[in-house]
Amino acid sequence: MPSLIHAPVLIVAVLLLAAFVTPLIGKRPATVNAVFLGAGLVAFVLSLSMTVRVLAQGTLSYPVGGWPAPYGIVVLVDVFAAYSSLVLATVALIIFWFAAFGPREVRHNGAYFTLILLLTAAMQGMVMAGDLFNLFVFIEISSLAAIAIIAIKGTKESVEASFRYLVLSALGSGGLLFGIALIFMITGHLNMDYIRTTLTVTAEQYPLNLLTSIGLMGVGFGVKAALFPMHVWLPDAHSNAPTASSALLSGLVVKVYIIALMRITYLALGLEIFELLPIRHLFLALSTGALIVGSVFAMVQDNVKRLLAFSTVAQVGYIFLGFGLFSQRAIEGGVLHILNHAVMKSLLFLAAGVIIHQSGIKRLSQFSGLGRKMPLTFVAFTIGAMSMVGVPGTAGFISKLYLALGALDADMLIFAILILISSLLNAAYYFPIIISAFFGKESDAGATDPAFVVLAPVAVLAGMVFFFGLFPSIMVPLVRQTALLFVR
C-alpha cells in the first residue's frame, strides 16, 4: 500500500478536518456523532497500519510537502512515536464513544467534539513531530484545547480550575519556547536530527545555553505533565471537567508531554545528556515524591474524581521512574505504563462519571451499598482499581513488575521496595471504596446501571485491562524496541 507513507500527516489532517466540520454540519446529533466517531475510527485504522509498517520496515521519516530537511518540516515516526500514536488513537476512540453516547454534561455537543478532536489531533502531531517548532505549536494547540474541555462544563469550579491550569500552562509554554530559542541560538536548526549532529560540536562551546535550555524545557514539560511538585493544577482541573474530558486529560494528555520530553532527549539532545547531567537522579527524586505524595493525598479525598486525579499524580511518577532508573526493563515498564495507565485511568474516570450521573453521589462516604444497585458499573470500577493496585492478571501488574525488575537491574533495590509501598498505598485507598460499595449498608439513593450503549466503552476498557494483563507479549515488540532507543 503506497499511500501508507502519508499516514502520519493523514492522521492529524483527518482529525483536524473533522474538528472544523463538526460544528458546521448542523444540529442533527446522528450526523455529528457519525463524523466525530468516523474521524476517530479512521485515525485508529491509520495509526494501526502505520505501526505495523514501522515495525516491519523501520523508522518512517516523512518530509511534509516533499521538502527535505533541513529546509522542510519532517515528521519522524520511530517505534516510540508509532506506539504512542497507537495508544492515543485506541484509547481516544473509546472515549469518543463515551463522549457521544454517555451522559450529556455540556450544552453544545458540536463545540465539545471540535475541542476533543483538536486535542487528539494535536496530541498525535506532538508524538510524531520531527522538529522543535512544530512540536511547540502542537503543544500549544493541545494545551489550549485541554483547558477548553474543562471550562466547557460551565460550572463555577470548572471555570476557576481551568483558569488556574491556563496560567500554569502558559508559564510552562513560556519556558518551553525560551528553551527552544536557546537551542536554536547555538545550533541554527529546529529539526531534531540536525540539532543532535550540530550539538556534538557546539555543546562544548556554549554549555551555558544548553544547560539553561534544558532547565527551562524541563520545567515547561514538568508543569504540563504534572510532575511532582508541579502538579498543583491537576487535581482541580481533572476532577471538575466533564467525564469524557477527565478521562482524556488523565489518561492521555499528561502522558503526551512525557513522550515529547523523552523524544527531545534522545532525538535532539542525544543520550549523552543522561551521562553528563544528573537528569536521572532528578527524575528518581521527583517521581519518588510523586508516588508518595500523590497516594497520600488521594487517601484523604472524599470526592471520587479528586481521588482519581491525585492517583494520576502518583502514576505519572511511575512513568518518570522508569526513565529515571534507565535500565532496559525499567524503561519497558515505564513505556508500558503509558498504555496501561491510559486504559485503567480512563476506565476508572468513565465508571466514576457513570456512577455520579446515575446516582447523583460524588462523595465516597455515601457510596455505601451502591455496588449492589449498579453491579456492572461497580465491577468495572473494581477491575480498574485492581489494576491500579497491581493485582496479577491485570495490566497494572505487568508494568509494575517490569519497573520493579528494572530497579533490580539498575542495582537500586530501594525503588523496587518503593513500588511495593506505593502499591500498598493504592490498595489502602481503592479497596475501602469497593468494600463499602458492595458490602456496606444499603443507602436510600436510587440508582441503576445505565443503558448498554453507555456502558460499552467502560466494558471495552475493562476487557483491555485483562487483555493486556494476560497477554502482555502482544506489546513486547514495540515496547522492547522503544527501550532499545534509550539503552543501546
Binding site: 481551568s162 496560567v167 502558559a170
Partner: protein
C-alpha cells in the same frame, strides 16, 4: 569599558530576559487576574524579542537577493514568531473569556477572593 561594550552587543538578549522575569513574576505573584494575563503577554513578548534577536545581524538587510547586499538577516525566527504571536493572541483571548465568566460567577477578579468564596461555599 569592556563590560559596557558587551552589554551593548547583547542588549536585546538582556532586555528580553529582564522582560521575561518581569512577566513571570507578575504572572505568579499578582492576585488580579487581568494582571496575570498582562504578565503572560509581557513574558510572551519578551520571548518574541529574544527569538527575533537571534536572527538579527547589525546592518543586515531583508533577505531578498539584490545587487550589493552582502549581509542578510535570518528570516526563520521572524517567520516562527508570527506563529508564536498567533498562539499568544489565542491564549490571551481565551484567558480573557474565562475572566469574564469568573466575574459573572464570583463577582470579582481577585484570585484570593475567589478562593475564599469557593472555600466558604464548600464549608
Amino acid at each position: 569599558m569592556a563590560i559596557i561594550e558587551r552589554l551593548y552587543t547583547n542588549i536585546y538578549y538582556l532586555v528580553s530576559v529582564v522582560l521575561f522575569i518581569i512577566g513571570f513574576h507578575t504572572m505568579l505573584t499578582h492576585n488580579n487576574l487581568l494582571k496575570k494575563i498582562m504578565g503572560m503577554n509581557i513574558m510572551d513578548t519578551s520571548l518574541f524579542l529574544f527569538f527575533v534577536a537571534i536572527g538579527y545581524i547589525r546592518g543586515g538587510q531583508a533577505p531578498i537577493l539584490r545587487e550589493g547586499v552582502m549581509q542578510y538577516v535570518n528570516p526563520v525566527p521572524s517567520a516562527l514568531i508570527l506563529t508564536g504571536i498567533v498562539i499568544s493572541v489565542s491564549f490571551t483571548a481565551f484567558a480573557l473569556a474565562l475572566v469574564v465568566l469568573l466575574h459573572k460567577h464570583y463577582g470579582t477578579i481577585d484570585a484570593d477572593k475567589i478562593i475564599a468564596l469557593r472555600s466558604k461555599r464548600h464549608a
